[in-house]
């Protein structure tokens, strides 16, 4: 098990952790930049200042309690639905690929894609505003057309690692995916 620091597309520090559980099972986890205390304090102070300004104008103390309520609810919603702490990829040869995102509140959302549906794992380029960013994605097989791709599942969307990190992940995945080509086909 090893952990190495990298940078995300926007420059924030992220970390890649690789674990090999067995010859055909690997887990790759990318840890996203944590919630910064200063941005949290900045947002809270801004909301409370605005509420205090409204209170001074309207002399209604409900504004203040409403502001506290809104801040709390907003923080809970942000931690539970928006802020992703860690994104991981579990590749089990001959079973499938599992993609997990764990949120800051502890919630985990998992998707499992069976190996029969996976055509390949590739690094794609995308043009986003004025930048060209690289992202790793899983190509799903089209059941009707053996050469076609039915869906593209992008990975690591909130941590957005740069190309060097993506190349490491790509190499690890391909080592396992190659095993299914070299394995003798069962009759």
């Amino acid at each position: 098990m090893e952990e190495r620091p990298y940078r995300s597309a926007s420059g924030a520090p992220i970390a890649l952790r690789r674990r090999q559980h067995s010859a055909s099972c690997r887990e790759l986890a990318v840890r996203c930049p944590r919630l910064q205390l200063r941005s949290l304090s900045a947002v809270t102070s801004a909301v409370w200042l605005a509420a205090y300004g409204l209170f001074v104008l309207s002399e209604n103390s409900m504004v203040l309690s409403a502001a506290i309520f809104i801040t709390l609810i907003g923080l809970i919603i942000y931690l539970h639905f928006v802020k992703i702490d860690q994104e991981s990829l579990l590749v089990i040869g001959s079973l499938g690929i599992q993609v997990t995102s764990s949120y800051a509140s502890g919630k985990e959302s998992t998707t499992f894609i069976e190996m029969g549906q996976v055509k390949d794992v590739v690094i794609n380029e995308a043009i986003h505003m004025q930048k060209v960013i690289y992202y790793l994605c899983i190509l799903l097989q089209d059941p009707g057309d053996p050469q076609g791709v039915s869906e593209v599942v992008p990975l690591f969307q909130s941590s957005k690692p740069r190309l060097d990190c993506l190349i490491e992940v790509y190499k690890s995945c391909q080592e396992i995916l190659e095993q299914r080509k070299t394995a003798p086909q069962s009759s």
């Binding site: 559980h21 067995s22 010859a23 055909s24 099972c25 579990l90 001959s94 394995a183 069962s186």
Partner: protein, 576 residues
């Protein structure tokens, strides 16, 4: 290739024995369903398995051996287990052994006829047998629609889920049975059942028969010729309450049918309809008890007449305003007075009619309010119908204004063509040039001028009444939206997703357990439940109404031309 063994977590502490289950050749995986303990007679085991195979259509066979020894591994036992492999010939013969309380088991396979000497890797996947048996796998929507998939194209997971779900009869024998075979599976400590469920199953049969009888009576009455005479049938088609009642009657028929549900979707639909009806009636009775307490319905009836009076007065004020100089525009005085007086007289008639009805309003409302016990949706539909009846004069005004305006617009367009020397050819549906006589042109131009200068007055009346009508339509539309929501929400599925989330599975998730070198890879397979959005989308109940059939542009065009608009059309109504 990698061998995958799906082992039920309930059998982890079972005594030594042989493993029975299904071997899926295409995926090189073994799904273990139960452990058969010593002593047993191989012939009886084979007989039992063929019996099970016949009933469940799942190819159950002996897959390997399981040894759970408290002390160190015994040599004689391992030889005995290998010999068993020759009695129950199965390729490959799986041997799993557990020592003491160790978490890490050793797993090996015996291949007699293989030409591959390399030891293949084994993955041990633990699964919760009860949850997998009860769960229903939902494939993603795009693959569900394609029905021509061959069996071996089917996903691996659905094969595993199917195997466990269909082997229900295997799990019916527990260790208190006196048969020759002793099994261990999730129910081997005693078959689970619930008294309430059994009692309800017994009670449901006569209840269904009674309900079917009552429903046939009611539908017979509804279909009788008496109710099909012209004024009544027109009335029934216009009232939304009758539609809703018909819809609910259909639901009752679905529930009370004697046939057992064949598939999971049918069962869920029946359950959803039942829960929806129950909640609807409960909310309706709650509403009724609230209305009738403290004589609120009397107060409602008392305020109804003043409200209708108030609306009529506001309309009169509006007409007086239109008859003067509305918004600074100068109207044609004569036409203005005619139209204004006509509408004012209409309102006067309406007010007298309402005042005539006023002594009976309270009684009518009292009896109509009783029908709220049929459900909240019925009560909302009645509210919508009452609004429609009370604002009937606005609807009438809209129709008069629209017809007048429409006539004017058509007249204007036809005379405009005459003005330019053209004519509408009805036969060829196009505009042709035409030579008119002088007197035709003269009369035509005169009429065109008259109509053109009278246009602002008519247009203003039309605009005002159309806006009022649209307001009423929007209010009615909101009520119908709410009724639709209550009708189509699959409450049973949502509650099931909340309380027993493993029953509705979108897929599985794997967790890697502690590993030890040299031992097979250990994974835990858990069920990934469906998201709430997909639950609602998959199990939505169909409703009878459809959303506005006109797009915005055609609606605007109709408004401009003065054609009558019917924004909410119901399925099954003929287009006019």
């Amino acid at each position: 290739m990698v061998l995958k063994v799906f082992f039920p977590s309930c059998c982890s502490s079972a005594e030594s024995g042989i493993l029975i289950g299904r071997w899926i050749l295409e995926q090189n995986s073994a799904v273990i369903l139960a452990v058969v303990h010593f002593p047993f007679i191989p012939v009886q085991v084979k007989q039992y398995l063929s019996e099970v195979q016949r009933v469940t259509k799942v190819s159950v066979s002996v897959l390997g051996s399981w040894s759970n020894s408290k002390q160190e591994k015994e040599e004689s036992l391992s030889e005995f287990l290998e010999d068993l492999g020759t009695i129950f010939s199965h390729e490959p013969w799986i041997q799993i052994s557990k020592e003491g309380d160790s978490k890490f088991w050793s797993c090996s396979t015996l291949q007699k006829h293989s030409n591959n000497p390399k030891e293949e890797e084994i993955i041990l996947v633990y699964y919760d047998q009860r949850k997998v048996m009860l769960s229903h796998l939902h494939p993603p929507l795009d693959t569900a629609t394609s029905t021509d998939r061959r069996a071996d194209d089917a996903s691996k997971l659905s094969a595993i889920f199917d195997t466990v779900a269909k082997s229900k009869i295997l799990f019916m024998t527990d260790r208190y049975d006196d048969g020759p075979i002793k099994l261990t599976h999730w129910q081997s400590d005693g078959v689970e059942a619930s008294i309430i469920v059994e009692l309800m199953k017994q009670a449901s049969v006569p209840a269904c028969m009674l309900l079917t009888f009552l429903l046939s009576l009611i539908s017979g009455i509804c279909r009788s010729r008496v109710l099909k005479f012209w004024p009544l049938s027109f009335l029934w088609s216009k009232l939304s309450t009758c539609e809703q009642l018909g819809h609910r009657l259909q639901h009752l028929q679905v529930i009370s049918s004697n046939k057992k549900a064949q598939t999971q979707t049918q069962l869920m639909r029946k359950a959803n309809v039942f829960v929806s009806l129950l909640i609807d009636v409960a909310l309706g009775i709650l509403l009724m008890s609230w209305l009738y307490r403290k004589n609120r319905i009397g107060h409602l009836a008392d305020t109804l007449i003043p409200v209708a009076d108030h609306v009529a007065e506001e309309l009169q004020d509006l007409l007086q305003w239109l008859m003067g100089a509305p918004a600074g525009l100068k109207m044609n005085r004569a036409l203005d007075q005619v139209l204004g007086r006509f509408f004012l007289y209409h309102i006067h008639l309406w007010i007298s009619y309402i005042h005539l009805m006023s002594p009976f309003i309270e009684m009518i409302l009292w009896y109509v309010g009783l029908s709220a016990c049929l459900g909240l949706t019925v009560a909302l539909c009645i509210l919508s119908d009452i609004i429609a009846l009370l604002t009937f004069h606005i609807y009438c005004f809209y129709v008069y204004g629209a017809r007048l305006y429409c006539l004017k617009i058509y007249g204007l367009s036809s005379l405009w063509r005459l003005f330019r020397g053209k004519k509408w050819n009805v036969l060829r549906q196009r505009v042709d040039s035409c030579s008119y006589d002088l007197d035709q042109l003269f009369i035509g131009t005169l009429l065109f001028t008259i109509l053109l200068f009278l246009l602002p007055t008519t247009a203003l009346y039309y605009l005002v009444f159309t806006l009022l009508r649209l307001l009423v339509v929007i209010v009615q539309g909101l009520i119908h939206l709410l009724v639709d929501l209550i009708d189509s929400l699959p409450l049973y599925s949502i509650i099931l997703r909340l309380c027993r989330s493993y029953r509705l599975a979108a897929g599985v998730k794997f967790r890697v357990l502690e590993q030890q070198d040299g031992k097979p890879l250990r994974l835990l397979m858990q069920i990934n439940p469906l998201s709430y959005g997909s639950v609602v989308q998959t199990y939505r109940l169909p409703t009878y109404s459809c959303y506005p059939k006109d797009s915005w542009s055609s609606l605007c065009k109709k408004l401009f031309l003065g054609e009558l608009i019917y924004p909410w059309k119901h399925k099954g109504e003929k287009q006019d």
